[in-house]
């Protein structure tokens, strides 16, 4: 478990001095970071501690309407961060889910940070797995570890990171615990120092893998640059109008895999 103790101060990851909080000065930035997560997991608190903004946070679901934006600087790079509305999934069609889904798909953030509630890991993982189907650059922020400890729940973050193929950072954002590590991981994924190998739904989807594979192959031929052809195949089979339109207009073809090593 990562805590900000004295040893951390000597390691290169501890870059508090580097972290110039930029508030909402968005004039120049190198990377875009999206912040996704279930409602009421402390997403807005994480947003505030990353940006140094003091957006009002409240202990109730659905507080963040639309999206908020801010910025921060870490290791000479400027990051723009977008707080998406909290959602339980990206599959169905409520406004919130569409805003979040569209931003991750069409906004093509360099990194998507998924904030989850450590005390409700299993339910929160549903969203994580869906995000990982869309993007292959993500960092998992396991928030509220203090509460998990109070409920006598322990989470093996290293194993979780291995299974999901993305960095996993336990945090207690309200107390500022783990935020520096989170910043470092966002930086590493954005700059390509950490290459994600995201978990893809492993279990065969019953009786339909043939259809998925066939469609997947077709999409991959037409849009060889797409990182998430299988997810698009799934959406098409479900009849997702927005994705169908994006295919028709070729908008989807503009979605290139994010280049490693930024510049």
């Amino acid at each position: 478990m990562i805590t900000d103790n004295a040893n951390c101060a000597t390691c290169p990851a501890h870059n508090l001095a580097n972290l110039v909080k930029l508030g909402i000065d968005m004039s120049e930035f190198d990377y875009v970071v999206a912040l996704a997560g279930n409602p009421n997991t402390g997403k807005s608190t994480v947003f505030n501690s990353l940006t140094g903004l003091k957006q009002h946070t409240g202990n109730w679901p659905g507080k963040t309407v639309g999206r908020a934006e801010g910025g921060f600087k870490f290791g000479e790079k400027r990051f723009k961060i977008v707080d998406l509305p909290g959602t339980y999934s990206l599959l169905s069609t409520s406004d919130d889910e569409e805003i979040a889904r569209d931003f991750i798909l069409f906004g093509q953030p360099d990194v998507t940070v998924i904030v989850i509630d450590a005390t409700r890991l299993e339910r929160n993982l549903n969203l994580v797995l869906q995000v990982l189907e869309i993007t292959d650059r993500a960092v998992l922020c396991v928030n509220l570890i203090d509460e998990a400890a109070r409920h006598k729940i322990q989470i093996d973050d290293r194993l979780l990171s291995k299974m999901l193929g993305i960095p996993v950072v336990p945090t207690a954002a309200r107390q500022g615990v783990g935020i520096n590590e989170l910043l470092k991981q966002i930086h590493d994924v954005a700059t390509g120092q950490f290459i994600c190998k995201p978990h893809r739904l492993s279990s065969e989807i019953k009786n339909v893998s043939h259809a998925v594979d066939q469609l997947n192959k077709k999409i991959a031929q037409t849009f060889p640059d797409l990182p998430n052809t299988r997810w698009i195949a799934l959406r098409l089979l479900e009849g997702d109008q927005k994705v169908m339109d994006a295919i028709r207009t070729g908008e989807i073809g503009n979605l290139k895999p994010v280049e490693n090593f930024g510049e």
Binding site: G62, N126, S203, I205, A233, L234, L237
Partner: protein
Amino acid sequence: MNKTEEILSTANKLRWEVGENFHDSILESIYKDASEISEKVVTRIGEKPKFDLDRFIDRIVTGRWTGFPIMFLLLALVFWLTIIGANIPSSWISYILVDTLHPLLKNFMNSIQIPFWITGLLIDGAYLAAAWVISVMLPPMAIFFPMFTLLEDFGYLPRVAFNMDNLYRRVGAHGKQALTMSMGFGCNAAGVIATRIIDSPRERIIAIITNNFSLCNGRWPTQILIATIFIGGTVPAYLAGIASAGAVVAIAILGVLFSLIVSWGLSKSVLKGEASAFSLELPPYRPPRLLQTLYTSLIDRTIFVLWRAVVFAVPAGIVIWLVANVNIGGISLAEYFIRGVDPFAFFIGLNGVIILAYVIAIPANEIVIPTVLMLTVLSTKMTLGAGAGVMFELDSTAATANILHAGGWTVLTGINLMLFSLLHNPCSTTIYTIYKETKSIKWTMISTFLPIAMGLIICFFFTQIWRLIAG
């Protein structure tokens, strides 16, 4: 056929193959993976504690018999603390801003030969209005908002929504309206924006129209002051605080009732439809961070709201000074209006002063009381120092009470003012927000005029019944 169309037609063909359960199979495979992963990485240290505090609190605060009484008691406690806590700092601030600074400024203006009407507009109008708003509003807000924010931080508001949700669903509105209603207790404009969490346009419009029935913080001070004077005055002194707090809670509950009734009326008539389902997650209780809550509620809410009130009070102060000092045939504009409206106002148990005050105070509810006092003094020709159209010093509730009583106010006037303060048009900011959110002049007009109509009708009937009973 081009390649993209080919993909789409393949998808259309294959969609028949995958069958209707496709969506469910995807969900199933997501759930399966999620549970496999979490099984491997999550360990529980020892037994789960037998006594779950969260569950225990939830059972009480959302209980069938205990939920609502606890809600009312908590609200009453918050108001009671606000009422008894605000009076003393209020008189300090008023002593500094009104008693001390105002004469200094006025003498200064006089000493450098500024024409009387400029001094009148700037010092007696603009400055005094701002000073009044600060001394009347800052202390209650500085007590009320932190307490309200602490409750919110702790996680109590979703429980309120949980208690209310069923009621809203039964009247054909969306359960989430309980949440936007709670937000409206802070600020109706914020509550209207918050209705974005309701997806169905029908239910959203209901929530927007009825949000005005949540007393906003611009109206809390009016309610609290009038309740303190007229309700608190009718009972022995040691009960005054409790009685006034009770009266304010009663008005707040009445507002919730009206929002239910109007929601029901709308969903049975012009906005017909079924309530849609939603899931409301009760977040875990979290110990509030005291210092941070104090900081954010003071900066974000108190100062923000106060600033808005001052910004609106300054031009209103100028208007008040003008209507009180521009004379036609020796009678001021304000007096013309007040005399003209008085007979009508008498029917609904109010008076011309209150009606004029609400017209002047359309920009912000916060300045209703200062305006009422100033106009009362003016219309009764009281000679209290400063002269016509000057909002003068009132360093205690007792002084306010004296003026209102002298102006012919009775308990009935007080109660009607409380009712009318609950039921009248939203402030201009809220009206503008409603227009921006609905993009419809029709719904904006309905949201604006429906509450006024209700206010007039309710005050009328209440007054007639009161007069019948009281003789």
